[in-house]
Amino acid sequence: MSAARRSAAAAALVAAALTGPALAKADTGRGPVGHAYVLPTAGRETAERQRMYDALRRYLEERREIPAFARKYGMKCTACHLAVPVLNQFGQAFKDNGYRMKNGTDDLRANEPAYWPLFAWLWKDYEVDVQRVGGRTVQTQGGISNGAVVLGALGSVGDKVSFRLVPIIYEDGNTNVDHGWIRYNQAFGSDWVNIKVGAADFDLPLSPGREYNMGASRFATLYAYAVPGSISRFNVLFGQPGLEIMGHDLGSRNRYSVNLFNTAGAPSAHCVLCSPGIFGRVTHRQEFANGFLRAVKAGVFGAYATWPVGPDTSDLKGQQRLGGDVELWLGSDVLPFRATLMGITGRDDRALVPGATQNPKFNAGMLQLEYVPRLPLVFYGRLQQIRNQRQAIAGTPGDFGDQDFQLVGVRFALDLNSRFASLLELTYWRWTIKHVAPGGANVTNHTVWLGTHLDF
């Protein structure tokens, strides 16, 4: 999937986060005029910078371009992907089935002995970033970013068991291992009960693990948003360790998922299930017999997570997220114009923000447009907005930390077959965070990203 794009994006953020002094100053938000302010961390605490760094690392792990499946089932990538890595309905059903075709060919014993459910993926990209603070350019940087190789294992070993484990080795020496999960398919013989144990990604609209662009911006803007000053590390972008129960009908036109988890990263000195949380989503897809509108998929989702506060971290405070989404397939099922609109609202307990006087609230929205004129070419664009409705600390400007994000891009596959995929991508995005620079200026990053990635 979009390893490359993530690499680029991640490269931007990760590189920025790792590059040292400039970043450190940016984190304090008190750097000299003209100094670089790395957008994702500007005005935040060092811990938050680390959180973003971790988030990006983990975000990179989320990609799922898995040629191993094409190899196993002898199908083209486009069978499952509207455009790699975004799933179409057939791919969604395949995923919901635990990466199984349910056709007697999923069991490893049904495959040639030479087959193993492994894949490799590597990427390289060139990227130029221009950062502007208060309308003035403070930093321009670019170059070939560090790439990585992903050696993943994912798929089904039998009709009843699917799994995922994805280690990633970066050129800069870092290595991450995906938390991974094991899923027991069709418990009680029903597609409506599938049980996954491990760190499962949430079933979000426009799955952040299947983003076209590999750039640093992407969905982190929205799904990983935390109200200014929050000490909680919970967000819906990343998988949380726990249990997922999901189900679907034939063809995955009606689906649900429920995640019961312990919030990742929460202090856990005094309990077993220290910071419990729950996430759930239901979706329905309606297909139409005639007309320009081919299908509509609508869903609602919500999460409630806790995070410990207090001297002994025994006092749990809550965060809630509620959202809805609608996805329109227009013109064609196969080569569609797809529009996805999503809204989310969040509210945190004020105890999660030191010095807070009221419970902070925010609203956010996202619109993504995709057009596939022919295989394997896709144009895409996305708008994201985050608006803080109520700041935790009284007196803080109402739009402090508000964010605007715009992205346009094109992706083309040079090769897309049953053994490997080779892709090129060109993307531009702009990301603005309001009033986080010293003096209250806005910080805006402009990024042009050109990347290639290879999956096999």
Partner: protein, 269 residues
Amino acid sequence: MATAVVVSALMVGALALGAAPLPAQGDAGRGRQVYERYCVQCHGERTDGAGEVARWSQPKPRDFRQGIYKFSSTPYGYLPTTADLDRVIQNGLYGTRMPPFAALSTRERRDVIAFLQTRSPRWRIEGSGTPIAIPAEPAPTRESLTQGRALFETNCSKCHGDGTGNGPSAVKGMVDDWGAAITPANLLLGRGKWSRTARDIYIRAMAGINGTPMPESGDALTPEQVWQVAHYVQALGGWSGSTPQLRQFAAQLPPPGAGQPAPADTVKQ
């Protein structure tokens, strides 16, 4: 809040647009797009069954230019109906590289079927066959199973042997019309590539499988006898609709060629 209102409006509007009836005929042009996304890897860009992975596929993908389809509800040698093709697309062919495409929309399936029907002149010249008549399914009994086992031995065991596909013809080796090695189905698995129920077994026994050594029953068996064979086969494995009692009874029948079956009343139903 505003977002929620917009989303709700879009959802309601979209659903309101969805009340139109399904078109009876697909669009072959759009069907080609469907084909190129989902089918080309096996069936090939020229629809000749020579796709990129065809060399590793057994059985081989269909060559749609020939207009020969293995699984049909029509008599042997006739083209399948649109519903037959749709069934294969939706359910796939179990144990083969043909996966179930139940997630495709009805329009997508209709469109790709329309496209496939442009690939052979047979569709234009002959058109689809008429599905075979299927009389009402009688309830399986120990007597009908016993009779079915005898008929199976006479008509089927040459290839299917004791049900596992180990008949003498199979042992010698069999090929299909395209020259590829082919083995009779193992009926003990409780599921065929196409068949799942006794009704499916009935259709296969009556219509055979085009392009393979599996013949139609023709005049060799009456519909009642075909049902008896179907119920015996159903009781050989965990086919949909088979009961533990019938499977137990079938298991106690002597294997084909071993002589007279056990008296029907020796086993509780």
